[in-house]
Symmetry: C2
Subunit: 238 residues, 2 copies
DNA sequence: GTTAATAGTGTACTTATAACAATAAGGAAA
DNA sequence: TTTCCTTATTGTTATAAGTACACTATTAAC
């Protein structure tokens, strides 16, 4: 009986979203594939350490990756199928990377948001880190494609409950149409421009600035910024 | 380096909700406490087995507990703090129960819903299983009190996205005021009777029956039932 | 037939959503 | 400087959902 209980390894995987022009992107890292000469993209992640909880582990992974110390982070689901490391490549890669035979590995998946233009301190331990548009994701190891798929569903329902994540993905100053394109990318549908303006006019935590775009070859758009104080006031009243 | 990675045990814990009169209840089991002569209530749970994923494990736990084979089940969060088994009682209980030294244990928490009047096949391996109103929860081991707290928040947001769970908690036939009291219990606030009637009139998957209450010493209330076919049609159109 | 208890119902106001098209501003090209 | 291209900005009407609010109906018990 005792031996039928599972002692296993637990990892963290992070789906880090960034927004650029009209597209959501995800931060991927490259790993060497043990059996071929090539490389392969995967989600950034790590086994969890003895003395940290999953949140701390996720922060550590992202800090190692980007140098960013604090970020919005949300645990969204654990992936536990015994078959998730059935691929031989993945088994070998785990052994090569962690110098341990790992027969069962569950992962706790996190969502995170970063302004895509933010410069990373290149402290990364990975050879290559890059943004990948969600429409062009490669085949990834383990169940990472499935994890991303569920992360997308999760971010949609999250933004409804807590629109603050929109502003984590935009630069400090942004135009109404950038905000709209982000909203559209997240919900994967188009929104009427006039109705969208009405909607954001109702957000009293969205401050219109005097400043406008410069050197654009069309009518310059007004900039807005997010007012965290107003936002918090409003949230409490809900 | 290798040894700082965590090999650990993974468990499932289930927060099973039932609804009775005006209150949400949770299914608790009793465990012997190793150091005292008493017993203690806790959430039903189990270590995960080698060949099952977390969902299967949660189904197994509830099946062992109630005899019920299929039920609505939702993974909602993993609890991973290294401190969650810092209590000596809990450490000893784990060792006594699983005959293994368990230094680190994370748990994947599930939400589930059962009609409270459903008769259980008493196949339970526990000495005592009982419903406990959420307003009267005892102090529980590990972080089970915290898990229940977060389960309550989760069920609130779940019911918004998928009102079907209301009907998992009610008998097949129910009155409008039972539905309203359930809604109130979940949201922990009161709703105006007239407005609530208007709301449920808009649910085209809620069928009013001809049948009414009998032998009640006040005006008899009409029964309603839930129409799953209409509900699914409607969900697709969303 | 009076009482106690719960069921059932309508109106007015506010707020969010949705459909829909013309004008304004800035730079580039002619 | 005029024209053109591109994107920004703005209002009305209709529909749906949410909120506040109070009286009548029905049943069994006494």
């Amino acid at each position: 009986m005792e031996n039928s209980f599972l002692q296993t390894y637990v990892s963290i995987d992070c789906v880090v979203f960034g927004f650029d022009k009209s597209q959501l992107n995800i931060l991927l890292v490259q790993r060497d594939t043990p059996h071929s000469t090539g490389t392969e993209w995967k989600l950034p992640g790590s086994l969890i350490y003895q003395q940290e909880d999953a949140n701390e582990g996720a922060h550590r992974v992202l800090n190692e990756l980007t140098g960013v110390k604090t970020m919005t982070l949300r645990q969204f689901k654990s992936f536990t199928s015994p078959q998730r490391i059935s691929n031989l490549c993945d088994v070998d890669w785990l052994e090569a990377t962690y110098h341990n035979k790992i027969e069962r590995l569950i992962t706790i998946a996190y969502l995170s948001l970063i302004k895509i233009n933010r410069k990373f301190n290149s402290v990364s331990k990975y050879k290559t880190v890059d943004w990948c548009p969600i429409s062009e994701l490669p085949q990834m190891p383990f169940d990472h494609n499935q994890i991303v798929k569920e992360a997308l569903e999760e971010i949609r329902s999250w933004v409804e409950r807590d629109p603050i994540i929109l502003f984590e993905l935009l630069p400090t100053k942004f135009t109404a149409s950038e905000l709209r394109r982000l909203y559209q990318a997240i919900h994967h549908r188009e929104y009427d421009v006039r109705n969208f303006h009405k909607k954001i006019t109702r957000m009293e935590y969205l401050l219109p600035l005097e400043e406008k775009q410069e050197k654009v070859s069309h009518r310059a758009a007004r900039y807005y910024k997010f007012d965290r104080v107003m936002y918090n006031k409003r949230k409490i009243s809900l």
